[in-house]
Symmetry: C2
Subunit: 668 residues, 2 copies
């Protein structure tokens, strides 16, 4: 079911079987909310259109509560247990009640109700309380103003084209999609702010940005912009960006007054400073805190936030240098200033210390910092995880990160606890993801990649949802409620990350990808480069020694993690090569040698892709043809990719080690 030629994804309100839902949704009473509040208005519109299409029921807004079968009312922690942006939905005596703490909560509750209808779930005896766990739930878009998308695999940008801001039908649908899964903040432009994008904070673009932020505000979403730290120089201000220079502060103060007066709904700014060639406070001998606080103080009167990325490392490393360790850089750069950051600054920390690999340890900054607002950054865009050609459902990875015990406190020490604010009692925390959308008709290139687009939002809202539950919701909402379809697609999704890991880089070592594009195998592609991303394979073994005897990275963790990682015997095996240089003949807990494990997993990975394809092919005719065909075609490419990885990795290590495969399979 497309609208204007593009998919409606999980809001594809086609006809559903009525499990009694229509009884409840026909007569609505609104209490404690103003019907013409922009969010309420759009929540009701969504409810009406969804119910109309799915159940064929026309909603009537009642003036008398006693007539109502669906009561939408304001609740509170005491009344219903709802907190900020939360909702509760329950049925008693033939009446469905949706209580929400605020308008956003109401909107999220309406979408929850529509989900239940779409999944054909009954309402009798329902009692669903849902308060968002991450205060901030954000999508970051790496869209450039020329319309290209950095690490985009789904077409061009729908926010920008030819240095213009686009506002059209897709804008509103995008807002509907992401608000329906609980997203409350969106960064529309690439963190690498260059050329025209620097001018987004000038009157060249205010009108369109304001329009965009207005549409977002209709759905409870605050629009954020990525900021160029060198904007004063580039926009004709003082010839400096020194955060301690009064002229620079004055320029920013004036600029922000202008920006917030022109775009009052703006949420704030995302900044990538001193990273991969981007300007920042280091240029002027200032700290990251100096830079972030300067901006934060200025935007504070407007309720603005400064989200400061921690992706700082030396990207001109010498591969010969075994002391410098890129994995250490984030922690080393930021830990010293814990407590220096002002209350409306948030440090945005990538889930791992490297860069969104298929397997990394959790960043030691998370929970390493104790007096600083922290936001977890993950990547839904599949840069290193198959580029929306290969299926790779990432919710299991995100959940591993959330469940990780940092030992920063005796209890309440997981990443989930930290980014929900439970650990340190802060409110400016949350989760952000680099989004995977583009202007492809299906938004995400591979239809199955929409499960990640959907899943991140749902997980950020509710950390306790399982990967299985989220996958099930997504399939039922987007594709079909037919049990066979649900089970088979779930099986594909839930196994996909493990499969991808098997046929690519083993045991946490990462990389081994084609430079620049980051798709496809190149074992030595980054081995002699400046990027700090090495596997250090020789004829005896591979892996990076990050123990005390190596780079010392393991020591950045709190105990007992530090010791656990430091020791080859206790290090979790899936991260073995991240932390240790290991002989090919080392015996894993499975009893296999390392080299045999590499061979075996690579053969298994390809076999698993073939099995996934078999599962998918059995669904022909049971999923819409365009979805079937699009995914099927991508599976061909995935299989080709998996075979290349298998053969190249196996050939590489066979040629290097000279050790035969125990099973005598073909290695080139």
């Amino acid at each position: 079911m497309n609208k204007g030629g593009f998919s409606q994804l999980w809001l594809d309100y086609k006809k559903r079987t009525d499990n009694g839902g229509s009884v409840y949704v026909s007569k609505v009473f609104l209490s404690g909310f103003l019907q013409d509040h922009r969010i309420v208005k759009h929540a009701l519109e969504e409810l009406k259109s969804g119910v109309q299409t799915m159940l064929g029921v026309e909603i009537k807004v009642e003036q008398d509560m006693s007539q109502a079968t669906l009561v939408l009312k304001r609740g509170s922690e005491k009344e219903g247990g709802v907190r900020r942006e939360g909702y509760r939905l329950w049925e008693t005596g033939g009446v469905l009640t949706l209580a929400a703490a605020d308008e956003r909560g109401l909107l999220y509750g309406v979408f929850a109700l529509l989900r239940l209808i779409a999944m054909e779930r009954p309402f009798q005896g329902l009692d669903l309380l849902s308060n968002p766990e991450s205060p901030l739930r954000m999508y970051d878009h790496w869209d450039n103003m020329d319309g290209s998308i950095e690490r985009g695999y789904s077409g061009r940008s729908f926010f920008f084209q030819d240095d213009k801001v686009l506002v059209n039908e897709r804008t509103r649908d995008y807002a509907r999609f992401v608000s329906s899964i609980g997203i409350n903040g969106v960064v529309i432009n690439n963190v690498n702010v260059k050329q025209a994008a620097t001018w987004l904070i000038t009157d060249r673009y205010f009108q369109e940005v304001r329009q965009l932020s207005g549409i977002f505000a209709d759905y409870g979403i605050r629009l954020f912009l990525s900021l160029n730290f060198a904007a004063p120089l580039e926009l004709g201000g003082p010839q400096s960006a020194d955060p301690l220079d009064p002229k620079v502060r004055d320029w920013w103060r004036e600029k922000m007054e202008e920006v917030f007066s022109k775009v009052p709904d703006l949420g704030g700014f995302l900044v990538k400073a001193d990273s991969e060639g981007r300007p920042g406070p280091f240029t002027y001998g200032r700290t990251q805190a100096d830079g972030a606080n300067m901006l934060a103080d200025i935007v504070k009167p407007y309720g603005g936030l400064i989200i400061w990325r921690c992706f700082v490392y030396n990207c001109t490393q010498d591969w010969r240098d075994r002391q410098t360790d890129r994995a250490r850089a984030g922690y080393d750069s930021f830990i010293g200033q814990d407590g220096d950051y002002h209350e409306n600054v948030i440090l945005q920390i990538k889930n791992g210390p490297m860069d969104f690999q298929i397997r990394e340890p959790v960043s030691p900054l998370l929970g390493g910092l104790q007096k600083t607002n922290q936001m977890l950054e993950v990547q839904v865009a599949q840069e290193y995880t198959g580029q929306q050609i290969d299926v790779c459902y990432l919710v299991p990875l995100f959940k591993e990160v959330l469940d990780f015990h940092t030992y920063c406190r005796e209890k309440c020490d997981t990443v989930s606890d930290i980014v929900s604010g439970r650990t340190f009692g802060n409110v400016n925390t949350g989760m952000a993801a680099v989004c995977n959308t583009g202007d492809d008709a299906n938004w995400t290139g591979n239809d199955l990649a929409a499960a990640n687009f959907y899943g991140f939002g749902r997980l950020a809202f509710c950390h306790s949802l399982t990967a299985d539950e989220i996958a099930e919701e997504w399939v039922r909402l987007s594709i079909s409620n037919e049990e066979e379809v649900v089970e088979k697609i779930k099986k594909i999704l839930l196994g996909s990350r493990g499969t991808y890991e098997k046929y690519t880089c083993p045991l946490g070592i990462g990389w081994m990808v084609t430079p620049e594009t980051h798709y496809g195998c190149s074992v030595d592609g980054y081995e002699y480069s400046r990027w700090g991303t090495y596997h250090r394979a020789d004829h005896k073994g591979l892996g990076v020694d990050r123990s005390r005897l190596g780079t010392g990275y393991a020591g950045q963790y709190r105990e007992p993690n530090a010791s656990l990682y430091d020791n080859m015997e206790t290090c979790p095996e899936e991260l073995l090569l991240f932390f240790h240089h290991v002989p090919y003949t080392y015996r894993l807990k499975s009893g296999k040698t390392l080299i045999q494990h590499i061979y075996d997993t690579h053969f298994e990975g390809v076999r698993e892709v073939e099995e996934m394809i078999g599962l998918w092919e059995s669904l022909k005719g049971k999923v819409p043809d365009p979805v079937y065909d699009g995914v099927r075609e991508r599976f061909d490419r995935q299989l080709h990719n998996a075979k290349e990885w298998r053969d190249q990795v196996n050939a590489y290590f066979y040629r290097k080690s000279g050790i035969e495969d125990e099973q005598g399979r073909k290695i080139y």
Copy 2:
């Protein structure tokens, strides 16, 4: 000495010491040539301006031969031994005589005379006979119409910009430069003919192409165009390019009638067909000869030539496949049709079977073909040989190719014999080089790279010139006659190819370069790719077995070459890894193992670069500052590049073999 901001290269007629030259050149008498013939006119102009600037002498054209001190006259094989395009210059009794067979010969003779003056050589007793050895001496430019240059390292194109043909002061200077070294044909556009370039044979561009060909004609140069074999389809002709389709032939006939009427000086066309994605006769199940002959027959009435490239191979090879051998492809594709090509078709054959590597065997097509016109193609543009950052004087490489015995006849069997027409008595033969120029002020990026630009032309004219002689001419003409300068720069140039070879890929194996850019080391960069360019290194050894037991490539040569290459013990060592897979512990004739040879040459290569830099630094103040500085800066980059190659190659093979360096040097 720049003109319009750009260098005059070896025609930089600055003041010279007069070794008696002025006595001869002041009174000129012209016999048997028309003073207003376009070539004669420009030859006289060049003579006047050169003599004026170098010696301060004003030339007077005498009407009475008895008054003359310089007689320019028409000669012949019988009178003076001059043949087509040749000249003889001799002094007797105070009179200098320049006899030439034709106008081109006259022009070349004038440039020879000017060279002698510029090199401050005396004229007494001089007797210099020079007949060109290659009938065709061509520069191929890979310039695109948007102004970019494929594999260009000296700025943008000076022939094209923004899909327009440029005709300006540089055009004429370029024509002067190349005619002064004997070039008589120039292809102005890239062999990969796409977009606007397809339209060069339409009235969109006739006017400018005609202007350009007119300027070229002033200097005896015929302009050639690269042709898109699919032009009929793209220019609105029949929807086919099948060479045997009468509609296609008719279209081409009409097209060529138009082209040659609009651009009468046109020499013909260069065609890259069925190669790297280019269309060609194979698309229609026709032979290469079908395609070439069809065009050749049509252009024959206009004296046109069809130059057909033999660079045909499978560029989507599977790296796992050890049977397919790209090196075999040229021979396998063309040998079967020897004799089928019409008289005005020339097959243009790259010097080696791969693609302009620093060391390759000579293509077995050269001399393999016996009944086909052959043109040797070399690459002056330093695609794989340092990209005009690293110094790499290529004349020694070209000479090795020319001197190679193909054993296609008992005598007169070298490549030089073949491309001069001596072997098979044909006239449509010669040498072509991919040119290394661009719109940089010094034309070639690195000032020292102009030695290749100069050297190719001189060598194509006279195969017996040594690399040393050509280098000496170039230094004296372009930089200085000071002995120290001449000797030191010659030393740099003459050692440079060996040095480059030492620090890059060993013993003929080739590649190991960064994919796409082709600059910098990446040992495995092409090892798992589709390009057919592998080194097959494992923990025991490296190299490609192209013997009878391998791909059989060695068998494409005539005996005794075939047997020589086939046997590891008799194979020339510089090509050992091209023909054989060799254990690291194999002893070379030096007594060193293969692996130790690799280590040693890579350390030596870097040391030699340091020595070159030392030599260059000792010339500060003795060569013009812009030249000194430009070359010095490039030497920094070359040294960095050489160190990367050294350390990456050594690390790669050390890690793979586990064999220690005997000298215990640092390997990473």
